[in-house]
Every structure is written in structure tokens, then in C-alpha cells.
Homo-oligomer: 336 residues x 2
């Protein structure tokens, strides 16, 4: 690991994207979203993910030029065809439009079909909150988690994002429906550690904390066992029906060909119904109520969702982004 | 346990409610919602819950006459004051209005403050789906779960409901943010059984499957550990900010005085953007993909959310509702 400034990372990634056919403006925005993801400490979906994204542009899964097109609209709701454009640009455009709709109707919804992996989902939650509104969004994915009671991966880990604006720090939750990602399992295994809680099944079908056993069985646990499994199904149904796009069972189970995803973007502007100062107070008091908690054993206390992100963002902006040398060298080769 | 016909249960409960000052129409609807809950197999929040509901009318927590009043509206969104009316009637009215709004705007949202426990949340999901639309709703509750990293109950178990309409059986999920309810812990303890998965902490702060140990520590586990804790916080923030109502930390931690709740009701009408036959097909294919799953060890296979409800509903309609004799006798005394 070494440190590279935020601006330098953005420039380098944008340069690669231009070389792949992205327009200047789109290259800059996509590069910024990758850099911000690493800056916020979500290393799995920032710069470390960039080479896979580039591979998907090169293999034709991602079309650099494609912009989302509105195919149906009714009141506060729009349905868009993502035309297999870059997932982060599509999602950013969809949330921006949902925010606009929420200003006109109190609540706005954009359903996006035929798009690509949005990288870090939290990006679009922070985006909504930066615009002063509540954001709720989710995506389906390729089948990567067995449904409760089933042996094989048939549901997605379908990340969901909820975000609330707050002057003293937005509250943002970005969570997938599996207890751990495959990336997290790999990290624990490499460090020779067991998972802190059960994360999947072993070869005998018993729940286990052993990351290698779960990687071997390919049987991740959904959060809350039967509950997260059910929630993943609902998120998939709502996204695919509202966007008229693919459901998880129709998406290629191949990380380099995982395309044609369905996503939902909902924005709620509570200022259209209530006083902004009162809204701030409500949010601040909820945060304060969490901070008043007596810490549990071995805990440093209760944090609100997104609190740690703000700390990491400040630290990484100041010190530079923590970048894997091998990946940085690989990215450097891309423009040569 | 003995069996009482659905109609007989409805009549008896309505008679009690009339004696408490409910109008004829409101007594009938509230009674029906209680009976339907037991009929659907959610025994904890149906007839078995009725005596506690009556106690809350008698102690003044629930005002039988109060109907929700719209206090602000903007486009597709409305904010209502529930005026501490009966929770199931308030929630039913709010979802009905959200459904209307979704017909006018594609998506509709009603934020309801100052209401009471909605009993079974799934009721309003089935209601939306019966109206042909997608329903999403949630409620906050009194503090009954410790946040992740905290020792004392400071967040609610905030049930969330998602529902998708389908001619061959709606898909409806109704889940709280705790892995188990206190009612479930009590049932396991009385049967002398351990929980099937970890459900909370024991006196030493270790996760445990022992229901009695969790009842003693009062430390329920959120689903997905840190994830469900974060999700409960977000649901509370969004409901309290949009409704301008109480957040969990402001709600009395007393089952008989748990009032002034905040709730969200969102309805999405995908037919405003897409072809109804295609929507049916998308839903049916997702269900079929789940049913194709190979069953895991000791499993009868994968069910979609709500599938078991339909089976129980049919059985209980045919055989009569399974009613606890002691509770039925208690309800019989109420009109004397």
C-alpha cells in the first residue's frame, strides 16, 4: 500500500477512461466516483475494482457512450433504459433525476433497467443527501447467495442504500443482503482469521465462521438467515417489475459478464412537507440518542451509519488514498 | 386451542369494540383486521393481541374516535397526524391513501405521525397488493433492541413490509429488525427448545441460542448484527423526519404506553409505466426460479415470502381460526 493524492488518482483513472472512448466529462465523473469510493474507505469498489471495470468495457459488457434513456414516465415516476452504459454514470444520472422529481412531487422514483454494476451503492446515497433529500436505492445482482432452504446461489446479494441528509454529517447505510462479500471472506482467509460471526455453510451444510470453507461451498449466509433471503427476493421483484428489466435469475453468473441489471432510485424531499430546522433537529437527536448508549463489552460505543466513512474520508483526503501498488502499476500500463 | 369460525371471531371482536365507543363501521374493520391476522397464522398480533389493544383503549393510549388528519401535502406525498387513533385503522387509511396517490403519480407516499401500534404490518402489504400495486411500509417502535456496540435497548425492532401483487399469490414480506421477537423467545422457552440460530446475548455478553438467557439480559440481536442495527436507525430517521413525528428514543418503553409512533406508507403502481401481463410474467418467473432450487439439507425447499401465509389462510378459513381458550374467555367477558 502507498498513498496517492485524491486529485492524482482521479486524473489517472480519467486518462484511462478517455483512452477507452469516454467523453471528457464522463471520464472525469466516473473517475471521481471511483476515487471517492476509495477515499471513503470502500476499497473493494473503488480503485481496486477499476481493472475489472476496464475489462468489462473491453469485453463489450459496458458501453462507454451509452446514456440512460427515459422510456416511460408517469407523474413522479420514470422508467429508464440504461443501454448497458457504465454502471456508476447510469446510477448517478438516475439518482440525480429522482432528486429532481422529489423537488417537483415530494417523492420521486427512477427505475433503471439494462444497466451495469453501480460499483459502490453508497455513492448514490451520499449524492441524494448532498442534495438535501432522503435517498433510497437498490440494485439486483447476478445469483450469488443461496435462498433460505436452497442449496445453490439463486438470489442476489442485492445491496440497498438508505441516506438521510444532516448538516452535521449525513447518515448513510450501504448494505448487501449477504452477511459477508466474497471479497471480505478472502481478506479474512489471507489474514488467517475466522469471521467475527457466522458467514455461510461448510461442505456438510453446517453454519461456519471459516472463510475458506464458505469459499469452497459457495454458500453465503443471508443477513438474518430467512429474513435477508426474503428481503433479497422482494428487492429483486420490485426492481425488475418497476424497471421492466432482468431479475436475478436472468443475469449471467459471471463477474465479467454480469450485465443487464435492474435498479431503483427513490428520493424523498421532506422539506416539501416540513420545516428544515425541525428536520435537522430530529436527525441530530436520533444521532445523539445513539451516542448516549453505554458501550457493550469490547465495544468503543455506538456509531451511526456513515460516521466512520466521514472519519476515513477526512483522513484519506489529508494523507492521500491508500492504493495497492500492483493495481496502481496495472492501471499505469493501461494508457501506454 | 380450539377453532372458531372467521365470521364468529369478527363478530365477537366488533361487539367489544362497539362497547368501547368504536363506530359500527370502524369496529367491523378493526375486528376484521385482527381476525385476518390470526387467520393468516400471525397469532402474536391477531386475536391473542386483542386484550392488550383493549387495555390501551381503556388506559387512554388509543383514542377510538380519532381518524388521521392530513396536515401537509405536496404532489405525491402527504403527511398525516394519526391523533393517537387505533393503529390498525390509521395504518389501513394511510396505505389506502398511498395507493390512491400511486394511481395519480405512479408512486405515492403517506407519512403518519402520532399513531399507535399497527398490529400485523403485513396487513398493509396484502392491502396494497390486493389493490394491484407494490406496497412498502414500515413503523418505528419503542426502544426494544440494543444498537450494535451498545448495551441497552435504544433502537426499535422497526418492522418493514414489502409486497408485490401477483394473480397467483401476492409476494409479501413482513419482518422486524430483531432476529426474534420477545413473543418468539417465550414460545421457545415454554417448549424447552433452543433457538434455531443465535438470537441475542447472555448475561456475559456472549451470543446465545438460549431464549431464557436473552429474556433475562433484554439484549436481542438485530438481523445481520451491525447491518440490521443500521437499518433500524435509518427506518426510524426516515419515518420520524418525513412524518415530523417521534423517533424511537422519544417513545415510552412500556408495552401498554407505547404510543405516538411514526410510520411510512409507499405505494408504487408499476402498471402506470408497463404492461400488466408482462409484470405478471416477471413475478411468476422469479417465483418459479425459487421453486426450481435444489433443497438444502433438512429443508423442504425454497418458499417465496407469503407462500406459507396463503396455505395457512386457506386452512384456517376452512377449519376455523385456532384460538387460545383463555384469551377467548377473556374477550367474552369484555362485553358483559
Amino acid at each position: 500500500m502507498f498513498r496517492v493524492s485524491f486529485d492524482e488518482v482521479g486524473k489517472q483513472l480519467a486518462s484511462v477512461l478517455r483512452s477507452l472512448g469516454f467523453s471528457e466529462e464522463r471520464a472525469r465523473l466516473s473517475a471521481r466516483l471511483f476515487a471517492e469510493t476509495t477515499c471513503d474507505g470502500v476499497y473493494s469498489h473503488g480503485v481496486n475494482r477499476f481493472p475489472r471495470f476496464v475489462a468489462m468495457v473491453r469485453n463489450g459488457s459496458v458501453d462507454p457512450d451509452a446514456e440512460p434513456r427515459i422510456v416511460a414516465r408517469f407523474g413522479a415516476m420514470e422508467r429508464c433504459d440504461g443501454r448497458r452504459g457504465p454502471g456508476n454514470l447510469n446510477a448517478h444520472a438516475a439518482m440525480a433525476r429522482a432528486v429532481e422529481l422529489s423537488g417537483e412531487h415530494g417523492i420521486g422514483c427512477v427505475a433503471l433497467a439494462n444497466t451495469n454494476h453501480w460499483m459502490r451503492g453508497g455513492t448514490y446515497g451520499w449524492q441524494a443527501a448532498d442534495s438535501g433529500v432522503i435517498g433510497i436505492c437498490w440494485t439486483n445482482t447476478m445469483p450469488n447467495v443461496p435462498p433460505w432452504g436452497g442449496l445453490d446461489a439463486a438470489i442476489g446479494n442485492n445491496p440497498v442504500v438508505l441516506a438521510v441528509p444532516r448538516a452535521n454529517g449525513h447518515v448513510v447505510l450501504d448494505m448487501a443482503m449477504s452477511q459477508f462479500s466474497y471479497g471480505a471472506l478472502e481478506s479474512y482467509r489471507r489474514r488467517g482469521e475466522m469471521l467475527p460471526v457466522e458467514g455461510g455453510f461448510d461442505a456438510e451444510g453446517k453454519v461456519t465462521r471459516d472463510p475458506a470453507a464458505i469459499e469452497a461451498s459457495q454458500r453465503l449466509l443471508p443477513i438474518g438467515f430467512w429474513k435477508g433471503s426474503g428481503l433479497a427476493v422482494m428487492l429483486d421483484l420490485i426492481a425488475s417489475m418497476t424497471s421492466m428489466g432482468n431479475a436475478t435469475h436472468q443475469i449471467a453468473n459471471d463477474p465479467l459478464r454480469e450485465t443487464g441489471l435492474s435498479q431503483m432510485f427513490v428520493a424523498i424531499d421532506p422539506r416539501t412537507l416540513g420545516d428544515a430546522d425541525k428536520l435537522e433537529l430530529i436527525a441530530d437527536e436520533v444521532v445523539a440518542s445513539l451516542h448516549r448508549s453505554r458501550p457493550a463489552e469490547d465495544s468503543k460505543g455506538v456509531r451511526y451509519p456513515g460516521e466512520n466513512t466521514l472519519r476515513l474520508r477526512e483522513e484519506n483526503r489529508r494523507l492521500g488514498l491508500a492504493i495497492d501498488e500492483v493495481i496502481w502499476a496495472e492501471i499505469g500500463e493501461m494508457t501506454k
